[in-house]
């Protein structure tokens, strides 16, 4: 459970760090009135959707670290036979990374656009189509489309991996290492699919007339989610690869010596 506790410690210390800025030591009965309330401010300065997403990420992170912990605890039992990771996974990883990077650059371009409009005095509250603003809009939209395509390609790649593994006789119900492989990648895939719904929605909005700051926030959320899932994906590979000492080899060594 060490991995879980580390993750939990990170989440809890973040929360407690935030709480510690809420003047928890104040004596509220001595402080009536509205004074002194706007400094050390009592609200999180992020948009609520982003806080929401951060909460979701904490939950998703918890889910995966729990699985990692289970993986570690389970692999210590003697019948564990680590499975060779299919090479296709590396290609998939690059696809997901590329999608993540596309979203990041879409975010950068859209943000720059939004700032420029603000400086020009047009304000962000006016409905401005990104597309109407020349090549920036187009590039944001095309970057989003690229991210969609790459993510779908990632999912297809993962399905091919599963298909090939099945062909090679590595099934869900085989050795626990393969069970964990399918469960981990499956859950990860489900989260990607959930994210894709939001990304499709955002991409669709990027083409139509919409308020620029709204689309920026949406891209921001998608990018954050994608980075996180890429991070989880890396951690997943690390867990499945990093500790692949083979008890069989250990046993052989012992027999020889």
């Amino acid at each position: 459970m060490t991995v879980v506790l580390i993750f939990l410690a990170v989440v809890l210390s973040t929360s407690i760090w935030w709480l510690s800025h809420q003047r928890l030591g104040a004596k509220p009965w001595l402080e009536s009135g509205l004074k002194n309330l706007d400094h050390g401010s009592h609200k999180v300065s992020l948009p609520k959707a982003k806080i929401g997403l951060l909460v979701v990420l904490a939950v998703v992170g918890m889910l995966f670290t729990l699985l990692f912990s289970s993986h570690f605890m389970r692999q210590e039992i003697e019948d564990w036979r680590s499975m060779p990771l299919p090479n296709m996974l590396w290609v998939n990883g690059i696809l997901l990374l590329a999608a993540s990077l596309y979203l990041q650059s879409a975010l950068v371009v859209a943000r720059r656009q939004a700032t420029r409009l603000k400086i020009l005095g047009r304000g962000t509250s006016m409905p401005v189509s990104i597309e109407n603003n020349g090549k920036h809009g187009n590039s944001v939209k095309s970057m989003l489309i690229n991210a969609c395509i790459l993510t779908v390609a990632f999912l297809i790649g993962q399905s091919i991996t599963w298909y090939e593994l099945n062909g090679n006789g590595i099934f869900l119900s085989g050795n626990p290492s393969s069970s964990f492989f399918y469960v981990l990648t499956g859950l990860h895939g489900l989260h990607i699919i959930g994210g894709l719904v939001a990304l499709f929605h955002t991409t669709a909005l990027a083409g139509s007339d919409t308020q620029l700051h709204k689309i920026v926030n949406k891209i921001d959320l998608c990018a954050l989610y994608w980075h996180f899932l890429f991070f989880i994906w890396c951690a997943m590979i690390f867990v499945m690869l990093g500790w692949t000492y083979d008890p069989l080899i250990e046993l052989c060594k012992r027999v020889i010596s």
Partner: protein, 590 residues
């Protein structure tokens, strides 16, 4: 229901708060069924939770029928007995208490108490309820499938949970149970997301964290715990489903069932227990913390006195919440895990007793020098103190590893956890319903009926669970449909069991009185006005009672003070509402 208007005009500057884009429902369906208004969702959650809770109550009566009068009822076989026990436990812990405290009270009280128009994500909030409802339907469905519901105990320990020696293990029972839990977790996560973000982001101007009523603190912290703890149950559920359906071996070691070698191999039943209790122990506090918060507000309001040591109460809630994640294995002292864990977990468990004890002290110190109205909410709060203190102290037996060894898996444990997380939180639930019913409906509940309900429930529950500890002390194991002929169990235990059963039936029947009171008062109760208890918190200051859609009329309230300004020296009234600027407002002190 009766509508009243609060006449005092808002004489304050407009709040500089980002307004929620409220969804204005137009049709009956979107207004009352697929509603996005947190108040309606709260009532839906509570209604479903209480309805399924009554199913669990009936199950507990059946359990007591068997234990009190064994071999008198042919329809209670060991199979059905275990099914009753399992479903009773699971429903009470997850589908009633968690859903009621967070989905019910959380939804109703958070936006109103922090001065928000609604939850941050109303649509997700609506989805949360409907997924919860689906989870309940799946759970109820498992009663009607061939083989019946699972009888694996609420802990669902593998391997027995998915083997043929357990009712529902090879049938649909266990599958539906796991699916229902997974749905519950998904639904709850949607709701929990809302409660957290709303508390973080939706507070009105002036409502700092240190001006939150303890109810909100309790529900907020419990939600954070739940969001972080439920994934463990989800992981366990998913892995067990795979073990059951696809013959993976996450939790299943190689084993021989009635002479048959099964195809499983190498899995770890202890791994499941770790995952389960990593969820299961925070779950205790998910139920307890909202109860702590609510009871603080009830005691303060009805004793007309500020809560004693507000800061300490907040720190204790946060501290208990954080600590609750590193005590889980005290449920596993006899599980066969490495014995050295015992040192660590016994220590953390007993450390958690300190902030918990401080909370008890602060409740009773709030009573000291108060002006105590002994009305129904106050009575239920006092009942909570008695039962919680009792259950908390017996927790010191079970948390201390060496004392747990002889007592674990006996009726002592059953008595302990019923007292501390069954009776105590349920008494708070009742107290809270008597307290907030006037706000929800505009009418008071009948006080006389309420008092009868309280005394029967409280004294009855005490008579059930206090003697039960001693049955455990004798050594009677839990989860036995009958005592058997073991020589160490004297015949008098059977007599005591019959007595306990009679007390249980009385308590069960008394709950009908409560239902009658609710339905009678909804139509005939005395109109309450907007603030019958003369309470300070924002939900009592709404312009409409029951609060209208959007809660606070055109302007959100501004918060000038903490929620416990009762009997302030020099004030005209014995309470100053949180949005009352007060005549003494100098910006520094009162």
């Amino acid at each position: 229901m009766v509508e009243t208007e609060n006449t005092s005009p808002p004489s304050v500057p407009p709040a500089e708060v980002e307004e929620v884009e409220l969804y204005h429902a137009t049709s009956f369906w979107t207004k009352y069924v697929f509603s996005q208004d947190a108040k309606i969702i709260a009532i839906q959650y509570s209604g479903v939770a209480i309805a399924i809770g009554f199913v669990a109550l009936v199950l507990s009566s059946l359990i007591r029928l068997q234990l009190g009068f064994p071999e008198m009822f042919d329809f209670i076989t060991p199979e059905t007995y275990y099914q009753f026990v399992t479903m009773h436990g699971m429903i009470m812990v997850v589908y009633l208490l968690t859903a009621l405290f967070l989905g019910g009270f959380g939804n109703y009280l958070i936006p109103l108490m922090i001065g928000a128009r609604d939850m941050s994500f109303p649509y997700v909030n609506m989805l949360s309820f409907w997924i919860y409802f689906l989870a309940v339907l799946v759970l109820v469905g498992s009663f009607f499938v061939p083989g019946g519901p699972t009888g694996a105990g609420w802990t669902l320990y593998p391997p027995q949970a998915i083997l043929s020696g357990t009712p529902g293990g090879k049938g649909l029972g266990i599958i539906l149970m796991l699916v229902s839990l997974a749905l519950f977790i998904v639904g709850f996560t949607m709701g929990g997301l809302n409660y957290v973000v709303t508390v973080l982001q939706g507070r009105t101007r002036g409502m700092t964290m240190m001006r939150l009523p303890l109810t909100v603190w309790g529900i907020f912290t419990a939600t954070v715990l739940a969001l972080l703890a439920f994934p463990a149950l989800l992981v366990a559920t998913v892995m067990m489903l795979f073990d059951r359906l696809l013959e993976t071996s996450f939790f299943m070691p190689s084993l021989v069932e009635f002479g048959d070698q099964l195809s499983y191999g190498g899995g770890s039943p202890i791994l499941f227990q770790h995952l389960f209790w990593f969820f299961g122990h925070p779950e205790v506090y998910i139920v307890a913390l909202p109860a702590f918060g609510i009871v603080s507000d009830l005691i303060s309001t009805h004793a007309r006195k500020n809560i004693f040591g507000y800061r300490m109460m907040v720190w204790a809630i946060v501290g208990i919440g954080a600590l609750s994640f590193i005590v889980w294995a005290h449920h596993m002292y006899v599980s066969g895990m490495h014995p050295y864990f015992g040192f660590f977990f016994a220590t953390t468990t007993l450390i958690i007793a300190v902030p918990t004890a401080l909370k008890v002290y602060n409740w009773i110190l709030t009573l000291w020098n108060g002006n105590i109205h002994l009305n129904t909410p106050m009575l239920f709060s006092l009942g909570f103190i008695v039962t919680f203190l009792n259950g908390g102290l017996t927790g010191l037996f079970l948390g201390n590893v060496i004392v747990d060894i002889p007592l674990s898996d006996t009726m002592f444990v059953v008595a302990h956890f019923h007292m501390v997380m069954g009776v105590a939180p349920i008494l708070v639930v009742f107290g809270a319903i008597y307290h907030w019913f006037p706000k929800i409906s505009g009418r008071m509940l009948h006080e006389g009926l309420g008092k009868i309900h309280f005394w029967v429930t409280f004294v009855g529950s005490y008579l059930i669970f206090f003697p039960m500890h001693y049955i455990g002390l004798v050594g009677v194991p839990r989860r036995y449909p009958e005592l058997g002929d073991a020589a160490f169990i004297p015949d008098s235990v059977a007599t005591l069991n019959s007595f306990i059963s009679l007390a249980a039936f009385t308590v069960g029947v008394a709950q009908i009185l409560f239902l009658y009171n609710v339905f009678w008062s909804l139509r005939k109760g005395r109109p309450s006005g907007s603030n019958p208890w003369r309470a300070t918190t924002l939900e009592w200051q709404t312009p409409h009672t029951p609060p209208a859609h959007g809660n606070f009329g055109p302007e959100l309230p501004l918060v000038y003070r903490w929620p416990y300004d009762y009997s302030v020296p020099g004030a005209a009234e014995d309470f100053l509402a949180q949005n009352d600027p007060g005549s003494l407002d100098s910006g520094s002190s009162t």
